[in-house]
Symmetry: C5
Subunit: 366 residues, 5 copies
């Protein structure tokens, strides 16, 4: 169900750089931890206010520097985080703390929001479902919110989740362009959380299918599937739970970077997060219930098997015994000489057999 | 037991618009999420103070606008939330935040209460039991409490839960007309919570019936029923738990829209909610206990079956062996020649059989 | 074990008026919810200060009115709450909020303490054990504490729990008469909590007896008893847990009606409540442990049964096979002609049998 | 494992006075609840400051009165709490609240610390292990800390736990004599908590032994032992958990009776308590794990037994059938006449037997 | 899996001094509790500021005293804590509270951080995995942070965890030398926490291997391994959980010894700790899931075994019965005389056998 059996990072083995390789390095060392990707880092700069809108794709990080002081809202989107030297340059230009840059490239962060005074640093996890929801993989999204700028970092492994936001900015409709950088950050967070719902719906359908199977024909594969589902639940839970606090902190926090009008929108995303968590918890309860059902259906089948065995044995053992009796070679066995002895013994045997069947009927075993 | 197996929205498949269809839309987009209904939106306006009372059913939302500034209490009840354009118009007339209107038409909200300064926005869930409590379905009730007005939105799928409140307003009795809009909101909340009790009582009776069955004749259908019951419990819990906090917030909150005299009444509804939650928790405990009972009764039956098998085998195997012995064709078997050999072997066999029975009696297997 | 299987109100079916019958009534409607009782409401008035003591049983509620303003402590005890008109009169005379009166007659309240400024309203549950602790039933006790008066409401179903308190007031000993109405309320609460201990001790003895049985001769009735015990535990827990908060609120609350000297006494009752809760939790743990023991003892017995079957089959199947061999009718079977063939075959069989027994000994099955 | 099966007071039946015997008595009534002891109450008075040290054993409580106002630290140790009249006298001399004295003689208190302004009242539980840790019994220790005095009450059932403290006071070494009454109370608490460690280590060894047994030869006695262990854990937990809060309250509380220098020492005892609780929780987890192991080892053995049965039956049933075939008496059975028929049938049978064994080998049943 | 079965201290038996040996000693007594080590205590002093760096290994503790008042940062690292007299001397020179020194030598501390005003005392646990992660052992690390000095105590049992930190100080690179003693303490804590990750990754691989085994060939050894894993989890959890609070206290605490710039780094370590705890919790969930899988696979195998038995018995019992019938010696058995009787009986038997097989096919047992 999951791409790999690695419990910790949930990704294929070879191309993943592990956390332990950083042991002993000084804090603030930029070492990329996570899945490796061949392609280059892509940088897109969008600069806008209510009237203007400029979008450009650049190759070097230097192109970002002029926007530092501009009063318009600047959104720098970095797609791919393996070229740590470029990121380092960007970080020092925007005065980002070395620990922030370290967290950006280490993709094993929990979702969190940190207030560095001049800017807020937010980490989230994007979820991607493989074909037919068999695999869930994650991508780390880092956001930096400054007074007039937003920098977003994506691992760049899967599709672009921010397409809708970009679209809305391009078209002049909506209030997206009228509001500031904090509203843009809200839009990005909202885009990520919105993307959880299809994943959950796919999971819900998987559960439904499994339940159907569980009732009609439970096999040991069903058990395996339940187990995998439970695992994905553990994984999802670990990914989504901290988000709740993150958004709650943003909404209720005292950062001057977030305006009151945006807080109302953040409350809305917060509600969505709670809804996601609620659904995950409900699914967990259901999967637990499915395990119980599976176990008791196994017990029930054992019972059924044993009943068949017992019925057969209880009917044929006495009869075989009787046949054995009249197979004995004693010289003086009067019944053997009887004219209708053979017929009588058949009668007796059929009688015993029927009595047993009636007995089992009464006991509701048949 | 439940209408459909959809874990997430608990409704028949075809006519439900899913949450994922909203992915990518800007916040505040009014898209109806939930079960589809053919009929039109019905609007009822009730305007009253201690002396006057006027009630009218209108077709267009424009009829609501004149009441915006009137000092009398105005209750606008919207039945059906699929005509999003009408709702949008109403929302902008009463200055409701776009996110409020978005939540009104998205029927997958958790119960919540949000303070928007000028008005409070409250979401609740109404429960409906199908025939013989086999199915529990929900309907989202949204309430907006302003200084002099209350707007209530119902999905309009099932009967009208606010009939009693309307009745009380019509008759001049009671203090209902003397008190303000906040008391009206309390009455509506109370009507919803009051409606949970019959549902719970029906569930209680179902549990009782199942327990009876569990003791007398547990089948694998019983297990299925327990499982369904547990599921409904999970569903109920998810629906009612957040209500506790909602009402607590209303009661203890600092909104100037809720007067102190009304807070005492809200404390009363809060108590009812706790009572509902208590009952659900007790039911959950009972259902868990029933599962344990079921599983151990299955084990017990297996034990009983195995005992029968063992008794039969233990009695007849030695006897059949003995019969086999004297069925052997050795030339020199002295016993076969004995005059009373046959009688003696019968005696021995009956003796062994009785000894076994005595043994099993002593072991309390018989 | 419990009088009825109704999970919600734990009382015989016919004479109970259910909560759902109140749906749709305006708040403050006095409708008696609970077990019906034929007898009349009894009213006792005790008026005292350090020097005086007057006790009278009255028929009408009007006799209570003169005491409203008296500076002496007045204790009005109402026994029976079905005559709602009388209670309504009393309530309006003492200026009690309609919701208080509603809660007094609705016997499905959770224990709670509510501060209405001029007076405190306290709800508790009295427990009564049937003969040999087979049944636990509850009675709702409501207390109203004013400046100089205490009104106590009992359902009047079982004996009078306040006898000891009355006795102490009558005799001039102790400080009971010297202290005010708050000390009287403390005494009444203490009387209720004190009464929980015999119930718990009876339950403890029942658990002890069941454990004894569980070790010596577990039957499926034992399982049923464990289940009933667990149920009573759930019931008790639900009844006693909220009491903890109630008394804590009284003790730490800021009501001017409770003096500091009384708070020390309330802390003592609080300790008792914690002790009761502790004991219930311990019992719950023990009952859970008993269930585990029962289940594994069932497994053990199955194991024992299967061993008997296996031993018998393993010994007699090879022997019966051997006997079958020499029961074959082949023309040329040299062994059959041997002089000591029969003896040798017996020897072989006994040898095989003994070998099997030695094997099972070694495997510790015998 | 435990002296008696009484769940509530964990003591032999006859000599224990139960809590229920106090029902109906006014608060502050001194009735001894707990195990009865024949011997008399022993009183020891130690009076010291940095330079002086006086120790005396007295018979009457009157000897304690002169020390009430002395500026030196006075430690009155009462050993035996059944002579309630003496205690009452002492209590009224030192102005102790009647409820304090009631709690001293009622040995069913939870550990607690109560601030009465002039003095602190602390209840703790001393643990004693019987021989080979089979039995754990408790003794209630009550401490009263005043400005210049400490009164300690022991039930006097087992040895004296305060011996080491007394020794340290006698010798002039250490700061024990330099510091005040609060340091003495700390020393007494520390002595009690220190005494928990040997008990825990003994329990740890018991668990170790049981685990060993569980792996090598699990019997149903093992199950009983696990159950007893779990029970002791429940009991220990109930005894030690509240202590955590007690010491935390003393340490962080605002009583002027405890000096800052002593608070550091109390933090140390607090750490020890947490360590004790941690160990108990770890043990609980381990015992739970042992139960799981036991249950699955029972299942495994059942599996093993069933395999033996199945192997035997699967080998011998077809063979016996074959033997039966050639035991039939049909007139025309060509095989019977064959010269090597008997040899061939043996060959066939051995072939079938070997085939079965190979099959079971492949299935890893053998 | 774990070095020893001691639940409490998780170390080989003989060389461990137990906590109970301290019972009765006055507080502040330096008694070494833990594993014994033959070697001597090693002391290393590193003294540095931005420009200077001096490192020396000394034999006596006196060499540390001159650094007490120096304005440069001094790091005294003590490797080996069994020579309590030396530690006592050091403690009194640096004015450390006797309880601190007691905790340093008692290696059964929980992780904790204590503020003594002039200095902070921090206890942590270092983890070491044996070969192939079979064994996890701990070493207690104590840190004392003063204004200009850091003292670190290691048990000195395993390798040196602080090598990387020392290296960074030696090289002039990085800000390590520019910042104060608090940054040094952060570096040491970070080194310890960083070291948890390889341990966790090794555990993760162990879980992966076990899961593989569980699916392909579960034996009772698998169960044992799961049990050991669970135990290690309990142990790890107990070790790491308190660390969370420790670091949180350091970060949010109000000690003037920790500067704001360092707090940001502590927040980073805090995140790592949370990540470690998250991973442990996930592992725990997985191990619990594995136990469920194991148990149900045992049930499944039992089912399979029983099916084989039942199939064999159900086919051969009727056939053996039939053979027994025609082995009877009745005089008048017409079938025996039939010319094709023998062939017909074979036909009948094969028919019955095939019918059974078809039946089992339909039931999906074959």
């Amino acid at each position: 169900m999951v791409t790999s059996k690695k419990p910790m990072q949930y990704r294929p083995k070879k191309t993943v750089r592990k956390r332990s390789q950083k042991t002993g390095l000084p804090p603030g060392s930029l070492v990329h931890i996570g899945r490796q990707r061949a392609e280059e880092t892509k940088i897109t700069i969008i600069d806008y206010d209510e009237t203007r809108f400029a979008e450009q794709a650049v190759n070097t990080v230097d192109a970002c520097f002029p926007f530092r002081e501009s009063p318009t809202v600047t959104w720098i989107n970095i797609d791919g985080i393996q070229q740590t030297d470029m990121l380092e340059k960007l970080g020092s230009c925007y005065n980002l703390h070395p620990l922030v840059m370290e967290d950006v490239v280490n993709t094993e962060q929990r979702p969190k929001a940190e207030n560095y005074g001049d800017y807020l640093y937010i980490v989230m996890k994007m979820l991607y479902a493989g074909e037919s929801a068999e695999t869930i993989s994650t991508e780390q999204i880092s956001l930096v919110l400054g007074r007039h700028y937003v920098i977003s970092f994506q691992e760049g492994l899967e599709g672009d989740v921010f397409g809708h936001v970009r679209e809305r900015l391009r078209s002049e409709k909506g209030k997206a362009r009228r509001l500031g950088a904090d509203y843009l950050v809200y839009s990005l967070i909202d885009a990520v959380v919105d993307n959880y719902f299809p994943i959950l719906e796919a999971l819900g359908e998987k559960i439904e299918v499994l339940e159907e199977k569980l009732v009609t024909s439970p096999t040991s594969e069903t058990l395996h599937n339940i187990h995998c589902l439970r695992r994905e639940m553990i994984f999802l839970r670990k990914t989504v739970w901290p988000l709740r606090e993150v958004i709650s902190n943003l909404q209720r926090g005292d950062s001057i970077l977030v305006q009151d009008s945006t807080r109302i929108y953040l409350r809305d995303v917060y509600d969505h997060t709670i809804q996601v968590i609620d659904t995950i918890e409900t699914y967990r309860d259901m999967v637990t219930g499915m395990l119980d059902i599976y176990l008791s259906s196994v017990s029930n089948r054992l019972n059924a098997v044993m009943k068949v065995l017992t019925i057969i044995a209880t009917i044929f053992m006495p009869l075989t015994f009787l046949a054995g009796i009249y197979g004995m070679n004693f010289k003086y066995m009067p019944e053997l000489e009887w004219r209708y002895g053979y017929g009588m013994i058949w009668g007796l045997m059929i009688g015993i057999g029927l009595a047993m069947i009636v007995y089992f009927r009464k006991k509701k075993w048949l």
